[in-house]
Symmetry: D3
Subunit: 219 residues, 6 copies
């Protein structure tokens, strides 16, 4: 399960890894906290319209990567806060979908300037913790819903990577998926090159041609 | 759409009316903010277990009344607060289900001692207002989801009734539905008689044998 | 000082009284908590644009009534909450402008369905209380800013009126001022007649031809 | 158990009744949410100093009435809010002291202008409800602390009185106790006469010489 | 004064140091924000029961270490938030107990995944700051309660240690104390060895056989 | 625009740089979130009095540095929280004043023990982000107020400096300005020497005699 703040966050952060996992037969679910409804410099584009377009872009990108399911929680873009209510909602997601792996944004990254990214990352982690306890949010634990203990946690956009996933196989396909977020992209070639460079840089640390990097926790 | 705090609130408050409407072909949806997970004097009954049982009781009761759909939001029983987040969630419900009529608890009732009842009523009303505006919670207004303007609002458990629904047809069937909430009922006969008496009292004000009473708004 | 939630609230609620007071030489200030930025059924009208228009309408209406000053706090329309922060902001207003009379919306009115109206009324009253204390919000009490004790409080949109202001003099001028809020009005004649009727109804209770009614407190 | 916002609230609202109950052998506990630390027109009196004095006045007044125990929670005067945290704290009080009767301020009173009085009243009532449930605030229910169900609830400063306590016996002693709050009283004689008048007015409704009035609930 | 989130936090983090200080005649107080009421994988163990057991375990462990006093604030385990209300409560503790040294969890530690640990650490630090100011929470400063300025601050579970306490004397006694938290421990030997290893690792940095490490501030 | 928590924060953190910029013709605005109303060890100094004095000190210091404008938001000292409401207020400031550069406190600094400094820094950064979006706080975007995209962000009190401003020109003048905050300074010479030393230390990293250091972002 990938928990992120906006459509395109997964494709910017961990799409190669997602693709490999999907190809290996894993069932991948995206949970998008917002639908990116405010991400436009054009005042005449209404938030709901933009959300429609971005959800569609996200579904296409996810489909290309082999993601099985995309869930939109439609919180307001740009105004996410790590409240107990959001933790509750994400814990319910985790308890329902029972992911072995949760992928999220690293909220401890210095100078993570986007408030949504900090809030989304922290809420995801706090929900992973809450989801496994019988006595936290016990109202969710109706028959068929049990506490769930994710086995691994991968944080992307991190400055403390300790795990590198080789994405040589998938670098171009992953860039193609990113390009589905056309509403957010101005210079396609420049962005593609930026992603390639970033994959090379990450790979270099691990002796790989191209990699995505994560801070990983195994419980 | 009936918005209430706990399983059994609708059956206590407006089940006869619901039954008549359902028989008349109206599509009735229940939205239960909590699953009543704390409603037991037995400390050994876990909240999740109780929620399971009460959701089942609520589904049975609703089925007997002809309710088409029952939705549980699973907020924690006994701790509801009328937050902007709850308003957002209920506005999304209203925009998705597009009810002509919203039925809710009257939050202005003097000495409504249950905090959940006040919160549920107020949140429902504030959501009715929010749901109709293009620029409130615009992130919800993706294609296929538009603002929605409920046409009527019925408040039950009110001390300012101005509308009485004749439920002579349905009084016993409505009591039978209430009895489905077995986990909450100790003396079946006494409760049945209490409901009958209340229906007679309400009816008397309107020259009816048996009635349920509401404060009604038509927009 | 008139504290209200939206442009047009004062003109709907107390404009005749305001006009009389202004004509009698009183210095009247409007404090508008929001600029009514969401008050449109047209999704293509941006909130900022609408706020611009409504602030302009409000300034015109106020000018016609003789209001000396109009202050817009630009909170988000439709989402007001009676927070400690809003109380602090209004207490600062009261301490700065030192009004003898504060006019506000009655938040206790049963079935005041607009959440902004309840919040605006309650926040105004709580601020009147806070403003007079030396030890509440003491950070505001720099030289030249002292606690301030309003002498009278008038609540409009009330169901417990105990004061009627004769507005026979001003009923048509007051309706003209209301008409400045053209963005919010569809049927001019119908609205004018509604205001006239309401003034007659209120007046009747006090033996006047036309009145506005208030719940009044004198401290 | 009397739950009130400020020192002197009990003596203004229900001291005659408290005295009768104490004389009849009941164990009365006062819980004061604030120590009235902001109740002075003199900017040079520090809040802590005033709190010291008012706690002392309250202890003296309580002692004269026969109150067994006075507890000060020392929330900030003038800024009480009915939060879940305050409800939790009051529920713990109720579970610890196990009162048969809870006396509190009526929060539904129209035009209860003091925000602390509304908050204190509502929090007390919500805590009475919470205190009796096994699954609300379960972290408090360590050995020796059980849920507690108050048997009666008396609300003072109400406009819906349905119970009158004859205080003919105690009217002067009760006024004497009130006078202990010397920091809050300017004209002793005027105040004494006001209390006498109020007791006469309340008594008249019930055919008594002097009474205190309450909205009463028996569970 | 040691401020921690759960029973067993002090024994995991700083028990050797506590023991040395107690033996040296210092008066040590524990403040536990929660009673660890949710720390069980067994759904049938009620939170209150577990809290009872864990408070008892904590008292035993503290007694063995020579801790003079253990205070339980009984906030809900797993749901701590660093609110102004918690800061207020901890500032009152500090002002009452007047500790020269405050020991707390380092909230800045990267990947401190337990939300309670972050909240408890931050709240403790913010309270240390607040406690020393005359004008913060002035309602607490009744006679006998003055602002209090802790002289030193020790943070445990830190990645920026700059102080190492030699605990060679006490390593086994400290492990024994930890073992009192039997409800939280599955493999006694493995845990003991883990603690020994950690003490050796910490000691190595400072040329000691066994140490506990802290980020220390001296004011 | 320099956004800081208290009067004297800018003079402690970035006054030399401010002076150079002002001398180079840049229009510098200070936004002070609090007026430092609690910064005294003397309980008899009222917060409002102290705020008066500190605002005056701040105005003098700013004048000497060539700052064009000083704005005081008068939030309560010592109790700042990074709320959505504060973000809204700062976004309005940025949209109104349209600064090319925003200078703020680095909220990521480890062991930034002052809660106001963390809150002020984070709120400033989140406001920079919000200010540039058309659909965040749209109620502010009336005619004449547009989204605003700051071009550079300088964070002071940082442990990750990547920009050093040569302040050799201004070190003594900047110290003189700091000395205007006489209410906060006990040992003038010691403080002056501390500032000189800090400037030398910062300068050394960049091969300068005296510098102020920043973490800088260019967008």
């Amino acid at each position: 399960m990938v928990i992120a703040a906006h459509p395109d966050d997964p494709e910017f952060g961990c799409a190669g890894t997602v693709m490999k996992w999907a190809q290996a037969g894993r069932h991948v679910t995206y949970v998008l906290l917002t639908s990116g409804d405010k991400g436009t410099p054009d005042p005449e584009v209404r938030p709901g319209r933009l959300a429609t377009r971005r959800e569609s872009e996200q579904r296409q990108a996810a489909a290309e990567l082999g993601v099985a399911q995309v869930i939109f929680l439609r919180h307001p873009d740009g105004m996410l806060e790590n409240t107990m209510e959001l933790r509750r909602q994400l814990a319910a997601m985790i308890r329902e979908h029972r992911p072995n792996i949760v992928v999220a944004i690293d909220p401890w990254r210095h100078y993570q300037l986007h408030p949504d990214h900090r809030a989304a990352g922290q809420a995801a982690l706090d929900a992973v913790y809450a989801a496994r306890e019988w006595h936290i949010f016990p109202e969710q634990l109706v028959d068929g819903v049990d506490p769930w203990r994710a086995k691994e946690l991968y944080l992307f956009w991190t400055e403390n990577a300790d795990y590198w996933e080789d994405i040589s196989c998938c670098i171009e396909a992953r860039i193609a998926a990113l390009m589905r977020h056309a509403s957010q992209i101005t210079d396609v070639e420049k962005l593609a090159e930026r992603i390639r460079q970033r994959a090379r840089d990450a790979g270099e640390k691990a002796g790989l041609d191209a990699a995505e990097e994560f801070k990983r926790f195994q419980f």
